[in-house]
């Protein structure tokens, strides 16, 4: 099942998806996709009976996003070696905004998939998956509240948890009250 999923993803994304050590990381597959593939990834997982557990933003202001991608030189550590992956990626700091989709499923073999998408911090925009997965609606609204990430095509991005007139994004690292 995992392999099937990997194959399907392989046709979708150029970067290799990573099989992570579940006992260490808490999820099985880590997929990095571009903003234009977010919906396709959701479609693929939805077809396979997955449900969306959460959507999260991470603000990597002035930091290199931590990555599970094996470094070229560290490649010999191999996959699934859990502890070996602890090293942070040493890419130069680029202001990025990350959105992480956590998928899980209730039937069949346990498989948690984290789909992540890195965006330019200056212009964080990616398409919504709420048309496909209605449950994503609130999660996306919340992420918009906290990070100001714009989910284009979302029916209503008005503040969900913050006051109606809120124009700040408190979980951005440069937020000052």
């Amino acid at each position: 099942m995992l392999d099937e999923l990997k194959n399907e993803f392989a046709s979708l994304v150029p970067v290799p998806l990573i099989e992570t050590d579940y006992r260490f990381k808490g999820y099985h597959l880590d997929v990095e996709v571009g903003p234009d593939q977010v919906v396709a990834a959701a479609e693929l997982l939805d077809r396979r009976g997955f449900f969306l557990e959460a959507i999260t933003g991470v603000d990597w202001l002035g930091k290199a996003p931590l990555s599970n991608q094996p470094e070229v030189e560290a490649g010999e550590a191999g996959e699934g070696g859990g502890a070996g992956k602890a090293e942070a990626a040493t890419a130069p700091p680029t202001d990025k905004m990350e959105v992480v989709y956590d998928y899980n499923r209730t039937v069949g073999e346990l498989c948690r998939v984290a789909v992540r998408c890195r965006l330019d911090r200056a212009n964080p925009e990616l398409p919504t998956v709420s048309r496909l997965i209605p449950g994503a609606n609130w999660h996306e609204r919340e992420t918009h509240d906290f990070f100001g990430i714009i989910f284009s095509g979302h029916p209503d991005l008005s503040p969900l948890l913050l006051p109606e007139d809120a124009d700040f994004h408190p979980l951005r690292k440069d937020f000052k009250a």
């Binding site: 260490f24 808490g26 557990e53 931590l66 956590d102 948690r112 449950g135 969900l160």
Partner: protein, 372 residues
């Protein structure tokens, strides 16, 4: 129901339910577009008790965040304690002594009983019956006494520590837990006789608020809501953690998907919780309750980690991002009721208002957990 509204020449009105309304269990607000007594459109408005937990996570050390977990879902605080310590232990590779794991399960399950009892009282109160609340609170107080004797608090428990527990239990606790289970076994039939078999309750709940399994999946609903829709999924069994694999329990599943099914799932879960507690008490090993090698200052290796536990209301997921310092870089709390409530808008369409409130009650909402 759109055609319903159209047939009435769009003579709808907006009804504002909350944020201060007894049926919303706190400060939830629902903007209802009504056609007479029928709900045309329901839009929950959240955030009235947004307490910045995720921001606070980035402002304090790993250990300092512990008390926050108790204030997220104050009815099932220990499940949240568990979820948080679990993800940090997982990242740090801390081994928890067996006795501590057993005690975690015992206290979490007792807490789950307390949570379900409170839900039972409040739910029947929503439907117009006051007395069951008094019964439920009476029994709940016994659980709280037990938990207070070991944790030191009645509601917002902060009992778990990274690698173990705050303190060990004594014989009084073990005896008290057994006595409580004996007592609740005697009381549960009363609950069923008084309430479950009550014709008024049955008429209010049966075939009301039917949620299909597919709808639950699309909205990410978990916990008793999902199990009431016939999906056999429980994190404790499907994604075993702690010592749950060593304990024998069933996951109650009802296929009807109506409010009654969700009611029955929770009532049956109380019984299963008692089974778990009993077995865990029997198997409770001797030994330390805190792991020996837990660093004073925690610095999980850089990376992100995810972990989920079965809280009283469903899957509580927590995603932490560590940058290798002593404060979390990002802490995402995935609360079950947030997803469970998100289906309310679609599910309540075309329902009578009192039925919609019965549906809302059967979702078992804890607002601070939704708003975080």
């Amino acid at each position: 129901m759109n055609d319903l509204a159209r047939s009435q020449n769009q003579e709808t009105f907006v009804l504002n339910l909350g944020p201060q309304h007894p049926a919303t269990h706190g400060v939830l607000r629902v903007k209802l577009t009504m056609d007479g007594e029928y709900v045309v459109h329901a839009e929950p408005v959240l955030g009235y008790v947004h307490r910045m937990h995720e921001k606070m996570g980035e402002n304090r050390t790993w250990a300092q965040f512990m008390p926050n977990t108790a204030r997220l879902d104050y009815l099932g605080a220990l499940s949240y304690n568990h979820g948080y310590v679990k993800v940090v232990e997982q990242a740090m590779g801390i081994e928890v002594p067996e006795r501590a794991e057993y005690l975690r399960v015992i206290t979490v399950e007792l807490n789950r009983i307390a949570s379900h009892l409170l839900w039972y009282g409040a739910f029947v109160l929503d439907l117009g019956g006051f007395t069951p609340l008094l019964y439920a609170f009476d029994d709940r107080e016994h659980v709280l006494d037990l938990l207070e004797s070991v944790t030191g608090s009645r509601l917002t428990f902060c009992y778990f520590r990274f690698g173990g527990l705050y303190n060990d239990v004594d014989d009084n606790f073990v005896g008290g837990a057994r006595a409580f289970i004996k007592r609740l076994r005697r009381r549960l039939p009363d609950y069923h006789n008084l309430v479950t078999k009550n014709i008024i309750l049955i008429k209010r709940l049966k075939d009301v608020g039917v949620l299909s399994a597919e709808m639950c999946r699309k909205y990410g609903a978990t916990g008793p809501v999902l199990r009431g829709s016939g999906v056999d999924y429980d994190v404790r069994r499907n994604e075993p953690y702690s010592v749950y694999p060593e304990l024998d329990f069933e996951v109650p599943v009802y296929g009807e998907g109506d409010s009654m099914a969700r009611y029955m799932v929770r009532m049956d879960e109380i019984e299963q919780c008692m089974r778990i507690v009993e077995q865990a008490l029997d198997k409770l090993p001797e030994g330390p309750v805190v792991a020996e090698k837990v660093p004073k200052i925690l610095k999980p290796p850089p990376g992100d980690y995810y972990s989920a536990v079965e809280a009283a209301r469903g899957t509580f997921g927590i995603r932490i991002v560590s940058d290798g310092t002593n404060t979390p870089y990002r802490m995402k709390l995935r609360s079950p009721t947030f997803s469970n409530l998100s289906l309310f808008g679609e599910a309540s369409r075309g329902m009578l208002l009192p039925d919609a409130l019965a549906l809302m009650g059967s979702l078992d909402l804890v607002i601070p957990e939704i708003d975080r």
